[in-house]
């Protein structure tokens, strides 16, 4: 399945590198935990893995193709924002999400995806009227849409706004995804237990002043 290799990647914000050159690789079924202090660029790294942000140097390759190219190496990125229009229903939002990705989905399929995160009943409510936790769950339902069966998961703080039971549910979903051989990359302040045969920890250390160049070591 998806194989990820990150070599000597630096990302700049406002002409300043966020972290020292980063190298790691992940095989199918690997859980990649990205840690680091605030401002170290965790979200930016995830966005780069998703192909939303370009790297200043080095390369990110999914299945031996550069990150910006969508060659079937699919990945689902779920960021801080839930990426949903509040005037639309979960159904309309999810139909749009998969439609833009080139998949047409049926109402049954959308309902099934929402059921995986326990929000099938909300399918026709306005997103704007949902609670933070409900919104997050609807957003996470994207992981289970048809077309994303083999996609890698890129999750930025997925446990925020979720109650303990739902955190456990998500953790079990992640474990199942890993067992299917997907790569899951995740940042989290909460230490939620996830059993993974192949777990990689990537620690980013922020570069405050340009003088402080500390090499990042990715520990397998």
């Amino acid at each position: 399945m998806t194989e990820l290799s990150v070599s000597a990647v630096t990302i700049e914000r406002g002409e300043r590198p966020l972290f020292a050159p980063l190298t790691f690789s992940a095989d199918a079924g690997a859980l990649v935990r990205v840690t680091g202090e605030n401002g170290a660029g965790k979200t930016t790294l995830l966005r780069a893995l998703a192909g939303l942000t370009s790297v200043a140097s080095g390369s990110i390759q999914w299945l031996n193709a550069p990150s910006a190219h969508y060659n079937g190496a699919k990945r689902v990125f779920i960021g801080h924002s839930n990426a949903m229009n509040e005037s639309l229903s979960p159904y309309e939002n999810l139909v749009f999400d998969s439609g833009v990705a080139g998949n047409s989905v049926t109402r049954v399929e959308v309902r099934a995806a929402l059921a995986r995160t326990g929000v099938a009943a909300l399918i026709d409510r306005r997103v704007g009227s949902l609670s933070q936790g409900q919104k997050k769950r609807v957003a996470l339902a994207r992981l289970f849409l048809p077309g994303n069966e083999t996609a890698a998961w890129l999750l930025d703080e997925p446990f925020v706004a979720l109650d303990v039971a739902t955190q456990a549910l998500l953790a079990s979903h992640i474990e199942a995804a890993l067992a299917e051989g997907r790569i899951v990359v995740l940042t989290s302040h909460q230490r939620v237990d996830i059993r993974a045969a192949n777990a990689i920890e990537v620690t980013l250390s922020a570069i405050k002043a340009p003088e402080r160049l500390v090499a990042n070591e990715a520990q397998a």
Partner: protein, 255 residues
């Protein structure tokens, strides 16, 4: 720490023409060009104005007021040329990602806007005694006004980004969009102009005495030299600003 210098050296080694695309390498070159152009600008201005005011005769139809053309026409030319130069550097910058190209474009823009403004102002002052009104919607004046708006848009857009790199690329794109549109705007304004009024009179006209033309051309070269000198100065300031943490800047600042 010499990040920038090293990085640019890595990137630019090998091909000779890339060498001066590095800000560090171009900084002293820009200084030399600037000095040379100041010399040219000042001496050409003195010569041009001397010929224009003390050698060129009074114009038979326009009287003395035609002497505005020695600055009006060069300013109008420079407004146009600088926009093209800007678009050129923006295209290079977007194509090759060379930071110096974006800086070059930023360095040119304010001078281009000033040239457009000067051209409009002198055009109005020339128009008053000639047409009897400060402003006519003449095709060329109108185009220069729109060109001025394009400069303002470019400068404002570049300034609206906190992330300088983003601002570079965003403003470069809008400069290119503008450059593609300039001929169309010019054509449409001309179309509109002939629709609403007859052909326009211009400062100078076609039957200019050779000596007037000579003075105007000398002034045009003086304007070129001035614009290059100012742009080089601004470029050097930008290099200092953006590379301020680089070692070579630090050593040249505190020597």
């Amino acid at each position: 720490m010499p990040r920038t210098e090293q990085q640019s050296n890595d990137r630019f080694n090998g091909k000779w023409f890339w060498r001066y695309a590095s800000p560090a390498a171009f900084y002293p070159v820009a200084g030399t060009i600037e000095k040379l152009c100041w010399f040219l600008a000042i001496s050409l201005t003195i010569i041009g104005l001397y010929i224009g005011f003390f050698r060129a005769p009074t114009d038979a139809t326009q009287g003395e007021v035609y002497r505005v053309i020695y600055i009006h026409v060069p300013a109008a030319w420079m407004a146009m040329v600088i926009y093209l130069a800007m678009a050129f550097w923006c295209a290079i910058g977007l194509a090759f990602g060379t930071r110096l190209s974006f800086m070059m474009s930023h360095a040119l823009a304010p001078t281009g806007a000033i040239m457009a403004a000067i051209s409009l102002w002198t055009g109005a002052l020339w128009g008053r005694p000639t047409w009897g009104t400060y402003w006519v919607w003449d095709a060329r004046l109108t185009s220069t006004l729109i060109l001025f708006f394009l400069y303002v848009g470019y400068i404002a857009l570049a300034a609206a980004f906190d992330d300088k790199k983003k601002g570079d690329r965003a403003s470069a794109l809008i400069a290119l969009v503008g450059a593609v549109n300039v001929p169309i705007i010019y054509f449409s304004v001309q179309w509109w102009n002939t629709l609403h009024q007859g052909a326009s009179v211009r400062p100078g006209g076609s039957s200019m005495a050779t000596i007037m033309l000579t003075a105007m051309m000398i002034m045009a070269f003086a304007f070129w030299a001035y614009c290059i000198a100012v742009a080089m100065n601004r470029l050097r300031t930008q290099i200092i600003e953006r590379e301020r943490s680089a070692a070579w800047i630090q050593s040249s600042v505190r020597k």
